[in-house]
Amino acid sequence: MSINGKAYIVGAYEHPTRKADNTSVAQLHAEVAYGALQDAGLSKDDIDGYFCTGAAPGLGPLNMADYLGLTKLKHLDSTDVGGSSYVLHVGHAAEAIALGKCSIALVTLAGRPRAEAMATGTAPRTWGANVPDDPFEMVYGRTVANVYAMCAMRHMHEFGTTSEQLAWIKVAASHHAQWNEHAMLRKVVTVEDVVNSPMVSDPLHRLDCCVISDGGGALIVTTPEIARSLKRPLVKVKGAGEATKNQNAGYTDVTFSGARWSGARAFEEAGVTPTDIQYASIYDSFTITVLMQLEDLGFCEKGQGGKFVSDGNLISGVGKLPFNTDGGGLCNNHPANRGGMTKVIEAVRQLRGEAHPKVQVPGCTLALAHGTGGLLGTRHGSATVVLERV
């Protein structure tokens, strides 16, 4: 059984805030849910499936359904694989819809790490009590930045990847962000700007890192019949794949990501190949995240990511693979430290023809959104969806 064609994304909303001082996380969830419903032309009581993660307050769906007044829920899913969760939720929502478990699914994300002055990437943090790997990692000052940096260091060692090549990824994101009035970093930067920015964790500079932002987003996924009854352009879920990658019992290889598996599964279900993709939302917590995922998804050969991203190849209207045309996590928004939601939202915009005119891919009918959640160099989740405008 396949989900190909069994579900459509009919609502997508990104909260415009990037710093949410005078509100709560629950209220941000409410605002993004309302925004996505307005976008779809639906109302709260139409929702019978709800998806969120551990980033939602309390016991996820329990406290959120109460706050949001969701009283018709028949299907719940709070699978939490970090920032990749919301890409994964699209696949899970499509499964639930295909099986008739629900017909209109809401996915929400919100958070306020910036208002809370969280040192997202540079302070050690864990995911809760009783985590079995913590006694073997936290004492070493494990942070988000240093775990991704170790992947970059090894990638450079094995494949000759350079800081200048990684910098091209930020340059491309900044070219897109200049057109996004909500983006945190709208200044177009150069390769020199990136490699001359302060070193955070060798070889990653400050401008190799994503922004820390508040806000969130929401999606509405529904049946083909309901989608056709609404007035929005039709965005079909064509394929989805998910995977986890970890330390492999101590025989870890940090030069590839779970995208190798989640991507292959999504492409197989969709019946398309990487060369068919006209626009790609690629998780961009750091520049190295993008480079490795592009290789692992099959957009280029392993080890050739540096060459692939160079010379503006990811810039819309310039290169072969326009990516993250909203400016991505690198320049626009990384709400709640979880970028999967905005990856799906920008892919939907592209397929609807609603991206900014300066970055809209002409005639975009096939797009991919991919997320990596958790820590690239220790253990992470990977989720990929292929979406089609019909």
Binding site: T122, N130, P135, M138, Y140, M150, M199, V254, T378
Partner: protein
């Protein structure tokens, strides 16, 4: 330009019954690694089950305490420190810090040996490495 590794304060380690023997050995200056007796393969990190077969037919065995840097980074914080994966001579790659060195001189492939560094209070020491 040299960047000496800082002697930052190390937090306590949360020991549980499944990893206590590992940390007890660390207090004695010995580095242990997991051995799956079903397959004869070493594993990391120490745990109560085999990550190859899921059985509890596992034991801890002493490692030589030498290896090479598989990958590393230097956190350019106020107290700079190096996070690394060290590949032990036994084959497993372990998450650690490289200490007592010039952080700017580190290289992938560099030979290192184990050292144990005190953590807070009665907590066991942390297993770290220094250039051999």
């Amino acid at each position: 330009m040299a960047t000496p590794a800082s002697n930052r304060a190390l937090p306590a380690i949360n020991v549980d019954p499944t990893n206590k023997p590992y940390f007890d050995a660390a207090r004695e200056g010995r580095l242990l690694i997991g051995l799956c007796k079903d397959t004869g393969k070493h594993f990391w990190y120490p745990r109560g089950c085999s990550p190859f077969t899921l059985s509890n037919n596992v034991e801890l065995v002493e490692a030589k305490g030498t290896g090479t840097i598989y990958t590393y980074t230097v956190m350019r914080t106020k107290e700079p420190y190096s996070v690394a994966y060290v590949e032990l001579d036994e084959g497993v790659r372990i998450f650690t810090n490289i200490v007592d060195c010039d952080l700017d001189s580190l290289k992938i492939g560099q030979k290192v040996k184990v050292v144990f560094k005190p953590t807070q209070g009665d907590s066991p020491p942390a297993t770290m490495f220094t250039p051999a």
